[in-house]
């Protein structure tokens, strides 16, 4: 993703380029204007796809939930949907409604969080504090329904673990009334407010054809006029039973992304109201069998599961080998699909706009860091690896690093330098 190099080179990151997550940008600038941009990822690689292979499908729900603290329900839903497809389980309607409800509450909290972050990035801290205060309405609801503000752990293979009581339905509807009032206020003020307009209008523009070419997903794609939404394109959970609109805008700038996200909060409120009013009676799980009995039935097969996470389309690929642990799980997160648009939209922007342009796609860097291989930019370049070569390279790299004296992490004295990695038997 490199372009012509002219003028001065400015490194941004990897520490806190705009959000509190690591990514590195190298900007070529001519005066105040960015002429070229390059990015480096994978400062946050945790080896989750490998860790998944050593755990059973049940344990993996909780492991994958911890990929991200914002879209935790998205990851568990995508994974359990995939396993359900492998097992050919029919999730009962009540469980599908509850998944939809949690998914939409999560979307509101994610978009409100983003609105706050965006306000902070443009120096409008009042908006930041307002948005985060109003976000607590949803966080409290989530805690009440699931037992936790962040990791809901409500999904299980074949359904959900917790029921929705009538009292909770009332609380949700009352909470949505309060939130609707706030969202009406934001819809009216944020896009017209002078500070927001000055910092966001015609900044970080992603034209429609670029969004299509780079396969932008989620709010980034929709703000550029690409009406992509898995909830409409391939409905899962209860999305074929509820009415909602896909919010699009064709300006493609940061203002459009803000408008689209606030509009999506309004649509999420609409969906939550329908779910709370219309939730059917019935079972919570597809099968009354204990979880271990279900795991014993997973056949040798593979499945692809798609989910519209708050940031865009999330894909989980699961391959099973007939045991209770998966043979391969691959995760394509929405942020990865949206990064190329950031690099493109940085070109031509001012340096001072870098934080908000980067934050504009609502990046989740810990989600994105699956594997880090530097290539020359084209597929199959001379630095491209296949899996065996990568494994060999990794072993060599660790052997070499083993010769360097490193602080020991064993024992009490953390500053001792007697221990070396690579001396393991």
């Amino acid at each position: 993703m490199s372009e012509q190099k002219a003028g001065t080179e400015i490194p941004v990151g990897p520490q806190h380029p705009s959000l509190k997550e690591p990514a590195n940008f190298t900007l070529n600038v001519d005066g105040e204007v960015i002429t070229g941009a390059e990015m480096k990822l994978s400062y946050n690689h945790r080896g989750i796809e490998q860790a998944v292979l050593g755990n059973s499908y049940i344990e993996n729900i909780y492991l994958l939930e911890r990929i991200c603290g914002i879209c935790s329900h998205a990851h568990t839903s995508a994974f359990t949907q995939g396993v359900e497809e492998l097992l050919d389980l029919d999730v009962p309607p009540r469980a599908r409604y509850i998944r939809t409800l949690i998914g939409e509450l999560e979307r509101i909290h994610s978009h409100m969080l983003w609105l706050g972050v965006a306000g902070h990035e443009i120096g409008f801290d009042t908006l930041w504090q307002y948005a985060w205060r109003d976000r607590e309405i949803v966080m409290d609801l989530l805690e009440e329904i699931t037992g936790n503000r962040v990791h809901y752990s409500i999904n299980t293979i074949g359904g959900v673990r917790e029921d929705l009581t009538d009292d909770q339905r009332e609380t949700i509807l009352a909470g949505m009334d309060d939130l609707q009032e706030r969202i009406d206020f934001y819809q009216e003020t944020v896009p017209n407010e002078q500070t927001v307009r000055m910092r966001c209008e015609n900044v970080g523009v992603v034209p429609k054809d670029l969004a299509r070419e780079y396969c932008a997903v989620g709010a980034v794609g929709r703000a550029s006029g690409v009406p992509t939404d898995v909830r409409k394109d391939a409905p899962y959970a209860a999305y074929d039973d509820v009415d909602f609109d896909v919010i699009t805008d064709d300006r493609g700038d940061l203002l459009a992304r803000t408008v689209v996200r606030i509009g999506e909060i309004a649509q999420a409120i609409r969906i939550i109201r329908q779910v709370a009013e219309r939730i059917p009676e019935g079972d919570l799980k597809a099968s009354a069998k204990p979880p271990q009995a279900l795991l014993a039935q997973v056949p040798e097969d593979d499945a692809v599961s798609r989910y519209e996470a708050p940031r865009g389309e999330l894909i989980h690929y699961i391959r099973s080998d007939g045991t209770d642990t998966p043979a391969r799980v691959h995760i394509r997160v929405p942020t990865l699909a949206n990064w190329p648009t950031v690099v493109e939209s940085l070109k031509g922007s001012y340096i001072a706009d870098t934080p908000i342009v980067v934050a504009g796609i609502d990046p989740c860097i810990s989600c994105t860091s699956r594997i880090g291989v530097e290539t020359d930019g084209s597929h199959g370049g001379e630095n491209a690896f296949d899996l065996d070569e990568l494994r060999e390279y990794g072993i060599d790299w660790y052997d070499e690093r083993g010769n360097v004296e490193r602080p020991s992490t064993a024992g009490e004295g953390r500053t001792a330098t007697d221990g070396t990695e690579g001396e393991r038997p």
């Binding site: 492991l63 673990r161 271990q292």
Partner: protein, 119 residues
């Protein structure tokens, strides 16, 4: 209505509002019923089947049976990630997610809990 006409009443309204945060630890909020705190274990109903250990993604629970048929159930709250799957997997309801969440301590052994009983 104009934008200042919207924002000024909002700012004035906010002035009269209580602060949104709680002054912890002086004031504590009550946790919801479904809150998942530290695991509470009851040896009486436990059969020693080991399902909790098998489904624990954080390896916080171990169940061992010796030659005499004594079951040792141990739990390390420092490893636990409070997902509640052990409660879900337990066929005899010997495990319940408790309400305790202030679990910090400077002594490592205080995180570990163990029960040995005859089955």
């Amino acid at each position: 209505m104009s934008i200042p006409g919207k924002l000024i009443p909002e700012a004035l309204k906010t002035l009269g509002k209580d602060r949104a945060t709680v002054s912890y630890p002086k004031n504590k909020r009550t946790m919801p019923d479904r809150f998942r705190g530290a695991v509470e274990f009851e040896p009486e109903p436990c059969t020693g089947c080991g399902m909790c250990e098998r489904h624990c993604a954080a390896d916080a629970i171990t169940v061992e049976t010796d030659a005499d048929g004594n079951v040792t159930w141990s739990y390390d709250v420092a490893k636990c990630m409070f997902c509640g799957q052990c409660e879900e997997s337990c066929p005899t309801d010997a495990i319940v997610m408790g309400q305790k969440f202030e679990l910090a301590d400077s002594e490592k052994p205080s995180f570990e809990e163990s029960y040995t009983f005859d089955r």
